[in-house]
Symmetry: C2
Subunit: 177 residues, 2 copies
């Protein structure tokens, strides 16, 4: 499956596309950042982010989109813009009927490093290793977007296996009754 990870932000919105499935090596498809100037009105910045996300969806046709979940307790000066950038990304996916999931920063850190409180550098190092890249993706927003996409493939796989096991158990119970 192809997953687009989006690390939302008004100044830098990270985009990372990964292909693969649970238990198989993951492959980097593309990684980048949509940047917008803080001198522009917020509405224009959001339109630029929308165009960037739309272009990626159009070009790479992901099977799912994973966006970082934004919390109100984050830095107050930037959280509103981050929430709005996340909202735009979510709308872009929902308009196309692409399955969408939100993952928290600690879920992503735990998935790729095993530690929900890992530092940014460690996340970048693990993304580099998991995707067998020669250098770490820069800036951190790009690496974080890839980490989101990796998390989604792995969590999606785990959730699918749990659902499969549940259905098998239900079927076994029906046969034995």
């Amino acid at each position: 499956m192809r997953v687009l990870g989006i690390d939302p932000g008004l100044t830098r919105c990270g985009l990372g596309m990964v292909e693969g499935s649970v238990g198989r090596p993951l492959r980097l498809i593309d990684v980048g950042v949509v940047r917008t100037s803080s001198h522009l009105p917020v509405a224009e910045r959001l339109v630029t982010i929308e165009r960037g996300v739309e272009a990626w969806l159009e070009e790479h046709r992901p099977d799912a989109v994973a966006v970082e979940r934004v919390f109100a307790r984050s830095d107050v000066s930037t959280v509103m813009g981050t929430a709005q950038a996340a909202g735009i990304a979510m709308v872009c996916a929902a308009r196309r009927g692409i399955p969408l999931a939100l993952h928290t920063p600690s879920e992503v850190k735990a998935a790729v490093t095993g530690n929900g409180r890992a530092e940014k550098a460690q996340v970048g190092a693990m993304v580099t290793r998991i995707l067998r890249l020669e250098v770490a993706p820069k800036p951190a927003d790009a690496a974080d977007a890839l980490a989101l996409a990796i998390t989604h493939v792995w969590r999606g796989g785990a959730q699918a296996r749990i659902e499969e096991a549940r259905l098998r158990a239900v079927a076994a119970a029906r046969r034995s009754s």
Copy 2:
């Protein structure tokens, strides 16, 4: 000029369209609310709000859009959704190149009631009087959207007069030099 006021919210997004100019009676064009169910995923709720705003822009072709400015200090449990609904409304206006302004709740209250700390009922009563309606618009989100549109016409007019006076002063200074 025609102004669309938008009181953003995930559960109820108020929309109010007003026509008029400073010093002339304002006229109600349309008022309503886009409602979305809290049982739906946020992304789908945002898409519903986008469709609602788009339909109003398409039908009524406003000259300007006024959106309530959302602050991070508001109620934390709803502020993220409110910020995202505001972001979607802003993008709808910006995509069409419609001039957009943000007004704070206290600016709106001060404009329509003379008191920046007026209560909701007082805002509704003044909106009813200013637009010569027979009954107050319900729910409060609809009245607030109309109050935003009224504020925009009046503030826009004041800003235009200040700009005009500034240009006259510059021209006079040039002539006398």
